[in-house]
C-alpha cells in the first residue's frame, strides 16, 4: 500500500478532497518529523512509540581498503509497535 492508497482511503473515509487529505497527512508527518529531529519521543495509541537513540562510535572494517575505520556516532529513529498492533498482525499471511 503506497502513500496514494493511504490518501485515497482517508479521503474516502472523511469525505475530503484528495488535496486536502494529502495536506493534512503532510502536516501530521511533519509534526512527527519535528519531534524526532529534536529527540522527543511520542506514542501513538494502537500504533506504537517513536523515539531516537544515539549509536556510539565504533570501529569497523572496510574490506575494499583492507583497513579499519572509525565510524562516528549516529542518531537513529526507533519504532516499537504497540501490543494491539502486534497482536492483530501476528498471524497474517505474508
Amino acid at each position: 500500500m503506497n502513500n496514494s492508497d493511504v490518501v485515497t482511503a482517508l479521503a474516502e473515509n472523511w469525505d475530503m478532497s484528495l488535496a486536502e487529505t494529502r495536506r493534512l497527512l503532510d502536516t501530521i508527518v511533519n509534526t512527527f518529523k519535528e519531534n524526532l529531529a529534536q529527540g522527543t519521543s511520542f506514542t501513538i495509541p494502537e500504533l506504537g512509540t517513536f523515539d531516537t537513540h544515539t549509536r556510539s562510535k565504533r570501529r569497523a572494517y572496510n574490506p575494499h581498503y583492507e583497513q579499519f575505520m572509525m565510524l562516528p556516532p549516529k542518531r537513529v529513529v526507533d519504532f516499537r509497535p504497540s501490543k494491539g498492533l502486534k497482536e492483530d498482525l501476528k498471524d497474517v499471511e505474508l
Binding site: V6, T8, N13, T40, F50, M70, F79, K86, K90
Partner: protein
Amino acid sequence: MSEKVTFQELIDSIAEQTNNSKKFTHDFLKDLVSVINSGLERDGSVNIAGLGKFKLRRMNEREGYNPQTGEKMTIEAHNKVVFKPYKGLRELVNAPYSDEDPKMIDEDETVASQEDIEDISEEEKVSQQPPSDEPAEVTDEEEEGFIPTGPPPTVKSDVEDSEDSTEEDRDTTGDQAPWDAGEDEEKEEEVKAEKKEQEDPFGISSSEEGKEADEDVVEYRPPDEEEQESSSLDQHLDKAKKEGKQETDEAVEQEQPEPEEEEVETEPEPAEEPEPVMTSDSGSKVSRDSYIPSFKKNQTPPWIWGAAAVIGLLVIVLAIWFFSSGNGADQQAEQSIASTQTQSEEVTEQPESQTTRPATSEEESVSESSESDSQSQSQSQSGTQTPGQSTAQENASNQPQQLQQNGTVTRSVARGQTLWGLAQKEYEDPYLWPWIYDANKASIRNPDIILVGQTLSIPVPDEANYGLSATDSLEVAVGYVETYRWYKNNGQENAKYYLWAAKIYDQNVFDHITQPIDEDDLAFANRVR
C-alpha cells in the same frame, strides 16, 4: 529517550496548524492508524510519504527460555512490525552528527575514548577502568582523564592514550565535536606528517628520533613513506581537524593551541614506540584514500566563487532567452483561455442565481447555464465557480462515496459543480480537469455539461508530492487531446488551443494518439512550443 510528548499535545499542535477541531484531528489520526493497520494486513507494507515504511516481517519458530521458570519453550512463528525511516528523516534526525565522516585508521590503533555519549552507562564506565590497568605497558599511560569504551585494547601500542588524556580537557571547549577528542592522536599524526612533508620531505633530517622530537605524534604511519605520499589534500583536511600546535609551522592553521610543555614531555616517549610497530603496508593506501576531503570545515577555495558567478550569469542569460522566445505565443493562448473562463463565470452567474431561488429542477439549471457556456469558448463547466464549490461541498457529503481499486475516487456531482471546480478541489489545479473528463468519457458526452448526481471516477495522482508523475501527465495530455477532438467536432474555433495545452503536459503525447489529428492544428500546437 530524553523527552516525551503526549498524544494530546501532538493533536493540539496539529489541530492548530491545520485549523481543524481537536476532535477531528484526533479522529483523523485514529483513522490513519487503522488505515495503516489494514494496509499492513492487506499488503504487508505501508508507505507514508516523508516518514517511512511500515513492514511486516516473518519470524520463524525458534527455541527460547521461559524467563520465569527457566525451562525451554518454543516461540512460535509470528510476524513483527518494522518501521524503516526514509532518507530524509534519517538525515534530519542525524543532523547533530552529520558533519562527521568515517575515518580510516591503522590496525594498531585502539578504540579511542568517548565523551558524553548517551549510551554509555555508568556501569560501563566503571567497569572499563580496572581492566585497562591490567596490561603492564598500559599502566603508565592511562591516566584517566578519559574513559575508554569497549573491551580493553587487545592490540598493543596504547601509547596514544597519554596524548588523549592531555587533550581531552581542552577539547570540550573547542570547536571540535566531543567525540573527536579521542581522535587527537590521529590528527596530531596528520599534522606531524604534514609538517614533515613541508620541512623534510625526503627524510633528510637524520634519525627518526630527531624528527619525532620535533612535534606531536601525529599519526601512525611509517614516517618515511607517509611524508612523501600525503597530499596537499590532507593538509587542507587537517587544518580544521587537528589540535596539535606546531612549534614552527605557520602554514597549518589550528583551532586549539596547546601548551607546548606537555607535548614535549610526552612526545619522545610515545613517539619512539610507534616506530617499530608501524610496518603496515597499508600505509600507502592510507595517504590518498583515507581522508575524505571535507570542504565543509575548510574555507571554500576562492575559485569556486568565480565559477559560481559565471554559471549564475549563464543561467540568467538562458532564462532571458527562453522567456523572450516563448513568451509571446504562451501569453496569447493563456489569456484567451483565461478570459473565456471569466466570461463564462459572469454569464452563468446570473442565470444561476435566478434559477436557484425558486426550486427548479437541478437538471434545468445545469442545462441553462450550459447553453450560455457553449456560446462562449470556455473551459469552465456548467455552474458557477466559487459559490458552486461551497454548495457542492455541503451536498457532496450526502452522496455516497466509493473507493475503486485502480487508484480512483468516486464522487457524485453536486449542484453547481463543474469539472474545473472538481479538479480544483481534488488536485488544487483546475487545469487538470481534462484528466477527469477522459477518465469518464463513457458518462460525459459534452465536456461542458455534467449532471448533478452523476458519479465520476476521479483519478488519483501517483506521486506523494504535489507534482504529477509522468504517467499522470500523459493521462492529462490525452485528456486534453480528447477535449480538443470534441470541441473540433462540434465546431469550436479555439479547439486547437487544447491541443497546444496537451503538449504542455506531455511532449510526446501525439505519439500515443491513434486517431489522426488535423494537420494544421497539429502544426500550431507544435510550433508554439
